[in-house]
Symmetry: C5
Subunit: 349 residues, 5 copies
């Protein structure tokens, strides 16, 4: 998660891929639709992809793989995209942001997935003036966008009736929906952890707690800037975003606030759990100390007494009395009981 | 309390109920009133409910149950409500918010109740342009609104003389009043807890403290957005809210600030109590250690001395002196007293 | 200090007294003055009080006792005061605030006193358009206002030369001056506590510290809103406040900032003292442990050696050597000294 | 450092000295200068001082001692200064602030010095419209201002060429420069403390740390408002401040930000050091416990074994075997070595 | 890192070098370029350097060494730079800032390097109206700027085609790129530290953690003001910055936000690690205590029993029974096993 330095020292606007090295071929899907028509094609070659565009339909070109920087530059030239934007698309360490250029709007965000730990993949969505949405993903993020593809294919919902701006909104909405899925998983884990904390906290609990706190730090870093992103998207004065779509963006803004709220709530919960853990460690220490103290304070005086009558003095009168031994036991038992009574009163037993 | 994912992946504006599954029939109450008249009816069927509306009276339609999403859509069509609003009404995980549409204002908030722990139920209040208030509750939240019904029936107070905006204000006011009730209960519990903390803190105290801190986190999440909600309601430029009502909304805003203030105060108090708990655990540890140390340091040297004269050396002159045993007791008692004196001086006894 | 729920569920604008129940008769004092004249009267009856008002003089009506809600309503009608204001006057749980109505300005604040703990009493000051100041107190808050009465009687200072707005300012100024008195008392107590903390912290110190932290929480709650109150008072566009008085209000605003600054400083100090307390508890634990460890590690090996030569083996050659016993003492003393030397080097002694 | 209550209850605008009581005579220095001329005189009497003023020269009247309130009032009348300003000059508990009146600008700030602890002295600087600067100090703060006097006398730098506003700036600049001197001293002390913390932290370290934290609290209280003071001075619309001087004030503003930055950095450092101290106390505890545990767990089992063969049973076969004693030593040494090995593996040794 | 006081007491605008004393000769490099031409020269003498300037080319004069204050004043006179700016250039304790003067823009920032600890060197970049960039460094910061020199020489990228404002941007960009390099190094170290913390935390871990926290404090101090600097640079109304360059500055602003984000994330991570460290210390203490308690509570009762039968009473019947010894062993083993069982149930073993 450390910042990438591959671009340090390069001229600004240099398109450099900063993620893990990959050699797979980049693939394109082109979806074109209007209220009545729907066309979907997959290509291995970008030029091919551009041949068949129909001007009157909404176009969504999805690029899976951003490690082929030459290709990104080619796309950039074709659609007249600023090199700074191209640099941002290829650099996987971007902070989520929304930017407005003369001829297009670009949103860069993190698409999160969560197996054993949270993984972030960069996604760039460009809304171009000629009815076109471009999306760039690191890997094929099928799950999140498949739902939208299905909606487009079947024509259910209003998406086919609306423009490219609504499609861009739908894509971002799908990303934010994924956050909810991840937060629910984390919420479940927090509940399990809390149960564990009350029942039987171990060193593992602590480490798990720490790992979750760290995850929340990264999640927070990905989620907070989304608020500004969507807010700027909603409030942009660009004509690319229609008024009807702005209403949906306002709704999406509320969703983002909810995500942030939940992240903050989880952070608070995890902090509280840390306190509970630490106090339970202290309590356990107290328990251990109590046992030690009770055993020690009962037996040490008794051992001393036994030691006294183990001495070999020629003149030690008690040794020769007939009932000494029995008297001694009585004394020792009294001392022990006295101690026990004292501990009871102090509520240590 | 985790965010709900049932709606993730669905087209925006899809009305999905996200609370616990229910099968009960949704019920409606319709109240119509003017300064002179008052009509109250309960229906099982929405169409029936709409038959008898009188245009010149203020109408309050209360819907108990939001799990019947088809019905909500039907109501939405009838009153020309945006699908995003309908989605918000049915989705029980909404964050409290106020939204302004062309033809109506909508406030979504949490109605809290508190038996053993805080429970939140979603409530949506819509102020429609034709003198109508719509309210949607998860379950029949009789308690809070019964007071307003009684006021409407009897005609006491100014509510019958004023419009639908004042009614909407009254409903929100009833919700905020409930917060005070809950805060008072929590305040009492904090006092009990503080007493316990000073007297005799146990592991249970800690857990209870933690549970209350968690409750405050959730309470805070429900209460903070109310401030913005009411502020926006007061400052809306919509003509649906009259100037006289705005004065009452300003007052309600102050109430909300008071609620938030109290929540924050309780959070501070609970944090302080956590510190006291931890320091009392440390103090108790010190006490235990002191007892252990005192007993050990007194008896261990004595045991050693007894051990010395339990040795079986052929040549151990002291064993054969006549008064050795008595001298030894004198020495041992002096050592013990010396130790006690030392501990007194160190204030350990 | 828990929020009061007596008003929950009542129609807004209902005047309900929310403090402790009282039955004493409410009393009025009327002061009328101009630069040349000064009249002061005490009444048991409000109507009587209003008979003799002289229109050209500044009037200050002070009401001691706000539990008689009927009377407050009567006054409200007489001076044309909004029911929401009347509700605020009688409800002792108000947050300090300044409100502007068409015909009057109202400031509600806490008058603090401090015997064994801080006590807050509500005070409402109304500046009415016809040269009149109304003040409502829970009990007779003589001390704070007597100074102003004396100034009015004697005509010293500029108060007799100025209008009702200056009088209102003087009353609030007297309240803020009281905060300084209380802060000085608390400052003295903090110094004593700090002394105690360095010298000899006990469990009592901790509890006292906690109590003071709690007091600061309540003090803060009362003091912070004063800033906004006075700021709003100074910046109001109402013609009731003259320009010369605004200069004094600006000065009062600075005083309030100073009060808040001091409260925050005290909070910081108390937090720091908590840390010192906790670290001193830890240090004390270390001391105790050191004593235990030193005694134990010196005597346990010695006891073991004595134990060895207390064994009854038939064949244990050392027992029969002539100087064994003396050699043994030499060995034991060497071990003890070795240990002491080791502890010295580790700086435990 | 507690707030002063001597003025509580007095009419606003009453000039009361709130510092320690003093009886020394107040002294005046008058400096008059233009680019070519320079006159410096010391007076014991204010009227005398005013006799010789030359209208075309810049005048700086410095008053050492503010306990003679009558005199302050006299000066106030002479220069037409508002009583609230006079009150602020004499009240040594002022918060640093900048205020603008019709005919003058006033800056009140703290002049800090640092011997064993930080001491604050109040300073008021008034910029009057007729080319005059008035400065009021508690005691003769020679050090800080002597530099400026020297610059005036020698005519070095630009100060003689510029107006009274530049002189006022120079005086404040001298005060801020003093903050840097103090911060450097504190920085040195923090470095020493850090060294100590790593080498050999003692209870004294903790107390010193606490004292420094407290000092930072007071320093912060004095320094933060300076930012606003200078910002307001720079941005005032008053014609008394010329454009060229504003540039210098902007620079001074940067200096103040640097002072605040450093104070905040020191606070962070001290907090971090507190953590280090606490963890080093815990570590030391662990060390002590380890020694105790190692000694105890090695010798207690051995002592037990010795105890067994010290029993006096008639029938205890091992006692009569020839090599029992040697076998026993072998066993005991094995146990001891086993324990040592176990501790090594656990990294306790 | 303490603030420098060498300038305290000097007239404002005095150019004083505040870094370590140096005697090396200051060196100049002059680069002149247009889209077609490129000239690079190194000088030991400033006057020489100015002889050959060509008005139509972009000029970059880089000064390595700022300790020669006379020279800085000479440069200042030549280019008509305000003395306050010259003072800032020479004073190495400046806070990063951007300032706008009538004829030039100045950016002062920290150039960071990181060997064993972070080192900051001051850098001032001036954009002058006649196509000129001046840069002042403490030492020859070749690494960071060499890349830009190479780009200028080879004419790669757009830098040769653009003006002096773009060059100034490039220089600042190179500085921010260095921050990423340092952050990556720190990120690596944090990962190592985290590994260590989970595996085997020692006192060294704590000290290292503390050192890194301190480094983050200083890093933060250098980085935060960069945001404002670049923001002001981007938004300046000066005609020196062209619109195309502003786009690049906006991008640079995003980079700075990313740097700040990462710094804050690291701070959070380090705080979390501190908690983990402290809890692992507590846990280790618990472990040690457990071992002590187990050994003690098993053997102390057994020792007591052995002690009892080591007593020398004449009448102690058990001593004379034939199987006492064997019975006793059975009893002792049972007690030991009972204890072990008890500890197992309590999960201490």
């Amino acid at each position: 998660m450390s910042p990438n330095i591959d671009t340090a020292g390069l001229p600004p606007g240099t398109v450099v891929y900063s993620g893990e090295k990959k050699t797979e071929k980049v693939s394109f899907t082109l979806i074109e639709y209007s209220e009545k028509e729907f066309i979907e094609k997959e290509f291995q070659n970008f030029d091919e992809c551009l041949l068949e565009l129909k001007p009157e339909m909404v176009k969504w070109i999805n690029v899976d793989g951003i490690h082929d920087t030459e290709l990104i530059q080619k796309i950039g030239e074709r659609f007249n995209i600023h090199t700074l934007t191209l640099e941002d698309i290829a650099n996987t360490d971007q902070r989520p942001k929304f930017e407005e250029y003369d001829n297009y709007l670009v949103s860069i965000m993190k698409m999160l997935s969560h197996d054993t730990e949270i993984q972030a993949e960069q996604l760039a969505i460009l809304l171009l003036d000629n009815n076109t949405v471009l999306s760039f993903q690191e890997v094929h993020g099928g799950d999140a966008f498949d739902i939208i593809r299905t909606r487009l294919r079947t024509g259910k919902g209003r998406v086919r009736k609306m423009g490219a701006d609504y499609l861009a909104y739908c894509l971002i909405d799908a990303v934010v929906d994924l956050y909810f899925v991840i937060l629910e998983k984390i919420g479940d884990r927090i509940e399990v952890l809390e149960e564990e904390l009350v029942q039987d906290p171990s060193k593992e609990t602590m480490r798990f707690l720490h790992r979750m706190k760290r995850e929340m730090i990264y999640l927070r870093k990905a989620v907070w800037p989304m608020r500004e992103l969507i807010n700027n998207f909603e409030r942009t004065e660009s004509k690319l975003v229609k008024k009807t779509t702005r209403l949906f963006l306002r709704d999406l803004y509320d969703h983002t606030i909810r995500v942030i709220d939940t992240v903050e709530t989880y952070r608070d919960l995890l902090s509280g759990m840390m306190d509970v853990y630490l106090s339970s460690v202290s309590n356990r220490m107290n328990e251990i100390m109590k046992v030690l103290t009770i055993i020690t304070t009962i037996f040490i005086p008794l051992s001393f007494i036994a030691g006294v009558y183990g001495m070999n003095f020629d003149n030690l009168p008690e040794l020769h009395w007939k009932y000494s031994y029995y008297v001694l036991w009585a004394v020792m038992i009294s001392i022990a009981l006295g101690m026990v009574f004292y501990f009871k009163r102090r509520k240590w037993l």
